[in-house]
Amino acid sequence: MGASTFTMYTDRNVECFAVLKVNDLNLTRGWSNLIGVIETDEGRCVSNGFGKFLSMVIAGGIYRIAAKFVDCQYSSVGKPFVTGFQLQKFNAVLHSIKYVLFDSLDIWIQQDGVKATVTIANEIYPAMSFTLIDVAVLGLVEGVGINSTIIESTGFGSTKQLPQVGLTFKSSASANYLNQFIGRDMKLGMEGKLGIDWNGIQTLIDYTQQDIPARVRGVMA
């Protein structure tokens, strides 16, 4: 078996964010659909490059990137002479689904203030840690936010409730405004920055998620 190695770059072609290895690079006429593996332990890329990749993947969408053919590696017969492909750089596009990171949001209106409990979800194998949540809550009232520095890890396919944190408000009026929602189930959005630690790769990503199941509970002031 032989693998062809490509280095992957962000759109500006400066930051190598990953190494892509493709076995049996067979290019027939037209589009060829191949399977590849993106790795980060090659030492070919800058340390924060993969964080950008993680950010693009988790946030989802379509990104213009670039790739460069590096070489071929073969298992049994030394490195053969592959001509023409070396260092060929070309345009590429990265498609990613949007990974869901928030499972639900509970807002607690209490005597000592309005609190929030965020339940995170993880669709990335095998586990991922959150180091920061700094988001605005959308769909409730303007100026409501959650800001929490945490280190919580959750395994693939599981959810975890984060420690309760205080909800931030632009004004006290907006806190009082929440009373009318007590007992109601809603769909809210969250938009802002998330700190991610993926087995030592730390990155800050811009993240938006809509339609997060949310409930407001508490007592009338």
Partner: protein, 369 residues
């Protein structure tokens, strides 16, 4: 008059009559300032005159091929002035029986038409002067000169479809190869090569059936020739289709058994593959010959001389793996399967006709071969 050297038979349709009779036009450039007139009646010449007042004048020639007489011809009406002349009263007889079952002679004769159409010097036929006669007597002042004359007689075939007598292959090569370029090796796996051949000697009276075809093609780039394709095939595979009176379409499928030689590996490695991967168009040139085994009413023959020199072939390249920027590669839907490893779909667009296989198995396979 330089011994009448430079006669050409124009619009010759070989074997167009069962008896071998033909009439044709002769062209000749008269380098002298002297006019010569042979007519059936008195002709008053009004300038520098070699006056002939002759009854039934004619100049007779033997028609030779390779030193052997194969017919005769007569000029019965000639009016030559200084410069270019066309002589219409040229008739003759070319005995077809001489060609029957004489494969060598027939092959040379038919190939001569191809060579002539390709603009090559070719002399199969010669005219040898026999006599100049009028009033049933030799013209005393012309006869001895005629008898000493022997000169080549090029045949320019009749070709109403393509006046101007171009290359019978012209630019009719069509290329559609799929190579497998694995490692530094190369193998043709699939593809077609087609040409349209015009046979200028073919006519309704002289139909030609193409039985076998052999290509021998050399592909060059700016560094020189680096690839050779040789292919033999029989028409029984229905790859040869008549296209009217003169033309045949020959479409050859290339496959794994087609012989492809890399002539200059360094050019292949350093220039062709690099250009092929990086460029949307690779500029190549093809030089080659096509040889036909044909069946004619006079027997079998080998027709050679069909070919092209330095025909341009702009082959599509990989376009830098993104089709010159028009078709960016796609990395799709990363799914992590362990820390720091993501499975992705990888799509690359190959706009060329060359299948690229960069893997070990193919290399191993070719080495075994």
């Amino acid at each position: 008059m330089n011994g009448f050297k430079g006669f050409q038979i124009q619009n010759h349709a070989p074997f167009s009559s069962p008896s071998g009779q033909f009439s044709a036009e002769l062209t000749w450039h008269n380098p002298s300032h002297i006019s010569l007139t042979l007519v059936r009646k008195f002709f008053p010449a009004s300038y520098k005159v070699m006056l002939a007042h002759l009854n039934q004048p004619r100049i007779e020639f033997d028609l030779l091929a390779g030193g052997h007489k194969i017919g005769n011809s007569t000029i019965s009406n000639m009016h030559i002035t200084p410069g270019d002349n066309t002589i219409t009263g040229f008739t003759g007889s070319l005995d077809p029986r001489i060609f029957r079952n004489n494969r060598t002679l027939l092959s040379r004769y038919l190939s001569g038409f191809i060579a002539q159409a390709n603009g090559q010097e070719f002399s199969l036929l010669q005219l040898q002067g026999v006599a100049a006669i009028a009033n049933n007597r030799e013209i005393y002042w012309l006869g001895p000169a005629i008898e000493r004359m022997t000169f080549d007689l090029p045949l320019i075939a009749r070709d109403p479809a393509h006046p101007g007598h171009g290359n019978p292959l012209g630019e009719s090569f069509k290329w559609d190869f799929i190579f497998v370029a694995g490692m530094s090796m190369l193998e043709v796996t699939n593809g077609t090569l087609s040409i349209t051949i015009t046979l200028p000697f073919e006519s309704a009276m002289f139909p030609v059936y193409i039985e076998d075809v052999r290509w021998d093609l050399t592909i060059s780039n700016h560094q020189g020739p680096f690839l050779r394709i040789v292919r033999n095939f029989r028409s029984s595979s229905n790859e040869i289709v008549p296209l009217g009176e003169h033309s045949h379409s020959i479409r050859s499928r290339l496959d794994k058994h087609t012989l492809v030689d890399i002539l200059e590996r360094e050019i292949w490695n350093m220039y062709f593959t690099r250009d092929f991967v990086a460029s949307t168009v690779v500029h190549l040139r093809i030089t080659g010959t096509v040889t036909l085994e044909v069946v004619t009413p006079l027997g079998n023959a080998t027709v050679s001389g069909l070919g092209v020199r330095d025909e341009r072939w702009d082959m599509k390249g990989l376009g830098g793996l993104d089709n010159g920027g028009k078709s960016p590669a796609e990395v799709s839907y990363p799914i992590a399967f362990e820390y720091r490893k993501w499975m992705v779909g990888f799509r690359v667009y190959n706009p060329s006709a060359i299948e690229v296989a960069v893997n070990f198995q193919l290399w191993h396979q070719i080495l075994k071969f």
